[in-house]
Structures are given as C-alpha cells and as structure tokens.
Subunit: 361 residues, 2 copies
Amino acid sequence: MSQTSTDIKSRAIFLLGFGGVGRALTRQIIAARQLHATRNHLRLSVNGIADSSGVVLAADGMSDEQLNRLLEAKTHSGRLGVEQAPLRSVQPSSHLAPGTIVVDTTATDVTAPFLVAAMRAACGVVLANKLPMAGDLAWYDVFAAGSARWETTVGAALPVISTVRTLLDSGDEIQHIEGSLSGTLGFIASQLEAGVLFGDAVRDARQRGYTEPDPRQDLGGLDAARKALILARMVGYRLNMSDVQVESLYPAEMDHLSVDAFLHEVDSLNASMALRANALTQGGRRLRYAATVENGRCGVGLVGADPVSKLGGIRTSDSIVVFSTKFYSENPLAISGRGAGQEVTAAGVLGDIVDLSREMA
Amino acid sequence: MSQTSTDIKSRAIFLLGFGGVGRALTRQIIAARQLHATRNHLRLSVNGIADSSGVVLAADGMSDEQLNRLLEAKTHSGRLGVEQAPLRSVQPSSHLAPGTIVVDTTATDVTAPFLVAAMRAACGVVLANKLPMAGDLAWYDVFAAGSARWETTVGAALPVISTVRTLLDSGDEIQHIEGSLSGTLGFIASQLEAGVLFGDAVRDARQRGYTEPDPRQDLGGLDAARKALILARMVGYRLNMSDVQVESLYPAEMDHLSVDAFLHEVDSLNASMALRANALTQGGRRLRYAATVENGRCGVGLVGADPVSKLGGIRTSDSIVVFSTKFYSENPLAISGRGAGQEVTAAGVLGDIVDLSREMA
C-alpha cells in the first residue's frame, strides 16, 4: 500500500542520555524511517538530546545529517560534547510540545523530576532507566498512571513489562514471579555450579566484559533488585528498595577496598561460596541468582532451582521471567531470551516509542 | 487514587459468538468492572450479542442483570436462545456506533464480512477466531492495517502476537519462528515418543477430551496450520492456506469413514507412525508437532527437536513459540505456557479489548 506523506504523523522525541543505548537508538530511528512510514505512518523527529554535557535543541527536529554528525563526534568524554544549555534550563511545560515523548536512556535518578514534569505537561515518557521506576513511589505512580512505557527496565527488550500489564488488564491474578534477570550473576552462578572458584569466576567475568569495571556493582545485586522491585510494584505491592531482600555476593566490609584490592581479596570468599553453592545444588538442582516476587514481598539471591523447572532449565546466558497466575498455574507463563545488550535494549525502547505513539495519537 | 465516574470512559462491545469463550468473556467483563474502573478508567458496555440463533441489541448497553440472565439461560442448542433479528440484519455502519469494539469468539469465517464492514465503520475488532485472519488476504490486510487485535488466535493468551508486533515496530528482523501450538498434537507426539501405539494415543486423547469429537479435525493439522499462517503473514509473507505445508497424521483416504470406523481403523497407522517417530527421535531427540515459519514459507508437521533446544525442552502440555531474529540470534526469544482453554482465551480477549480501547481512546 502506498502512503502519501499527509498520512504520516510526526512524533517529537526528546532524548535523555547519549551513551551506548542512546546512540544505538538514534541510529535505529534513522534506519527505521522507511519502516515506520509504511508500517506505522509515523515519523520520529528528534527535537532534543541531552546528556551531562548539555542539551541540543531543535524545535523542528534534527535532520538525519545533524543526528549523524552528533553520532560521529568523538568527544574526549564520550559525551555529547556540546556546551549549550544544561538540562535544568529546559522546562518541559514551556520547551516541550504536548505529545513529545521523552526517552530516558541514562542510569541516574536525577532525570526523575524532569520526567515527572514532562508527564504533567502532557508528554509521554519511555524509560530504559530503572532508577526513576525503582525510586520514589510517588514517581512510580505518575508513570504507572499515565502515558509511559518501561519495557527495557526488566530483561531488556523481552516482553516482560507488557506481559504484566496485559495480565493485569485482563483481570488475571499474579501469584508468583520468579526470574533470572542478570546475565552477569547468571554467568557467575553457572561457574560456581561447575565448581569454579568464586574469585576465578569474578575475575573471568570481569575480563570478558560481563561486569562493570568495579564488579561489586554487579555482585551487590542492586541492579537485579531494582528489576524485582519494578515487577513487584506493578503487581501492586507498595514497596521501596529498602524493602527488597538483597543477597550480596560479597560482604559490606569489602566495600572500602580499591577495585584491585577487591579483585585480590575476593578469593577469601571462595570457601564459603563453594559451600553455599554445594548446599543449594544438592540432588542436581541448578544454581541461579533469582528474583522472587510473592505474597507482598520481593527479593533477589542465590537459589537452587529444580532442573526440570523453567527457571532451572534455561541456559544461564538467557534471561527468564516465569509468571504463575490464576490462569497460568500448572503451566506457568515464561518469557526467555537475550536480556541484555545495547542494541537489543535500544530496539526495545524503539518498540515502546511506537507503542506509546499509537496510544497518544 | 479515587476516580470519579466522570473520568470513566464507556466502551461499547458487540460480541459475536456466545459459546464457551464468549460466555467466559462475558463473566470476566462483569467480574472486572471494579478493576477496569480503577486501573483503566474504563467501563465495557455490552451493546450486542450475536450467535447463530440471532442477535440481542441494547443501544445503551445491557445491565449486568441482563447479561447474567443470558448466561444462565440453558437453551437446548447451547446457543443464545433468542429468535430476534439475524446477524445479517445488522449493518455495522448504521447499527454500531463508531468506536464500538466487535469481538469475534466464533469459529467460522462467515463473520469476516461483518468484521470488515465494522472496521470500515470506525469500529475496532478483536478476534479469537482464527478463520478471518487465515482466510482471504484482503481481510487480513484490513485487520492488520487498522484497529484490530488477535492475540488469542495463536497460543491463547500467551503474548505471541503482541511480541511479533513489537519486534516489527522496533525494526528487528524475524528470521525464523518455530513453535508447538497444539496441545492435542503435543500430547499425541509425547505418547508416540514414549512408545505408545498411535491408535491408543488417539483414543486416549479423545477420551480425555483433548480432541474434537471427531479427532481427525485435530490430526489433520489444519488448526495448527492456521496459526502458522497468521504468524507468517505478520512477518510479511503473502501466503494463503493452500501455501502452507501441512502434515496430516492420517491419510486422506480415511476422510470418508464414520468417526467410529476411524477410531477402529486408526490402528492400521500404528506401524508407520512408530517407524516415523523412531526415525525422528534418534539420538534422544524429542518428538514435536511443530510450526515453522522461515524463508517465505511456513508449515506444520512432526519434527525431532534437539532436547536442549527451547522447543525440545518444554513439557508437551505447554505451548511455545521461539523467535530467532536479528537481535535474538544466539539466545532466541521464547514464550511458553498454557496455550489453550476457554477461560485463559477469554482473559486474553479481555486484554486485547483493554489494549485496543487505550489506542482508540
């Protein structure tokens, strides 16, 4: 079917964050122009990009040439490299047209007040950033009650959030959620299960680029805990991060160490971690770092999963979420696959933008 | 948060089909009134119900008391039991208000012209009925381009269709889909794999109520083929049912037999089915009746699945769909769980109605 240009609706996008996901998203927006025109009768117009170095604004949208120049500019900091207005000079109510979709690909909660102001100014919000969703409950309530999407906050582009939403819309009752939502901790759990020493597993994961430069950021479990909290809040539990039971894979006493010292002293945990792994994998159970949402509570930590269960059966490089509900009791609903990565996360954000555009049309 | 009634949007529903799914949906609509008011600011108003016995119309919506009376009326035929206007007397353009959602829970393609006319009259359409989606490509194109949802045509309420949609919206490229989408044929495949004779498996499945009264309706594979075709069309393949490669588990020569004669003579297939099952399960492979969508083609039939693959790893009482795409290549995206049943299908239809209401608001 041919579409004349008059059929195509332009949708303004204001992008927060121009790191790996933000740049991948920008490239994908450009690459999908033809697809969006024919399939969705939509043109995504990037009217603003902000990162910690400043904001670029273009009321009529940036051309693909301008976007490509920003993508190609290699700045010393890896940032946008503009010295224009800081984000705090932008007021959603006066600078963003109603109907603009603000996309947050940062990893900071300082964006939350901006996002809330955007929602109040009749803008939509798409979050890849977990922190505003796992932060103040008042923020969460604003996003949950309005035109917002946050699919990629749990399991990257895996359709986890949309599934929770549909289950709730359809009057189903979610009784239990369990999931393996951290590729890094999944890898380390599989290594422990195979008898690898904890310290070796941590250093190996770091060398492969699976962890942050400071692996304690992964080993502490907070990222997985935020995902569990977002799911728990969607189910209706009024919880905060302080309510989430988090099993850290290292003791708080090691927080003061330098990264190098930690990577050396982590071997002091080898014996206790091996004992714990052995205890949890008795009888062929599989070691997983799992999130659990049930009975008004949520938590993350090591578990021994039944090898024939959905959680126990997946490869550890997969993320998985398993829902037991009124309608999915004996045969729980499971969603699994690659649950991390900048390109796939950007694709999930793009899916959210198109879906939200449809609703806001 | 309290909501005043002025916040609540009423959405007219016109229901085609009042069998198991249609009745379950009606009960769920009533049960979800409070949920929809508080969560979705929505009231679903059933303005019409039609089945092959006639049509009940109520321009201002039926009260829950009226709906309950229709649900309780036990008619000889199991049908609506009204002798009012036939469906053909209802013209969507003159009898349905724009914005009405027409819900098809029948299993006939005679509803298709009505649905197409409803789409043209600015109504929405939700299909649990596969036949219009797997019928004339011109019908498919009308639904695919407009305000329609058909989540429950493939895998009941499992979020299969919405996932295809999101993958396409996000510019991902779907390279391969495989799935086990028939509980009945999954059961028979698991029995064959366990060494049960084909005839015994068929009679057992029928006695358990897993098959239609005439089990050939399941064994022929057409229902699974329609699901594969719907997925293939969504991926962009311009195919019709005659293009789908369908492996029937009985030869066409047995079509003329009575049901009783078939249930007796089916044992003549025992030896050939055992041979085929043995050949496909060499080396520990798992027997599945699978749908495959790939390279512009689609088909359904028996396959031997790698036991560590997602298709091979599930319990046969589960439905599963596995997507291999540009972004999900090494770790394919899989969705599994209960993929059949009237209550869960009705819940999926209700989810579609709420989602479509959001878009049409």
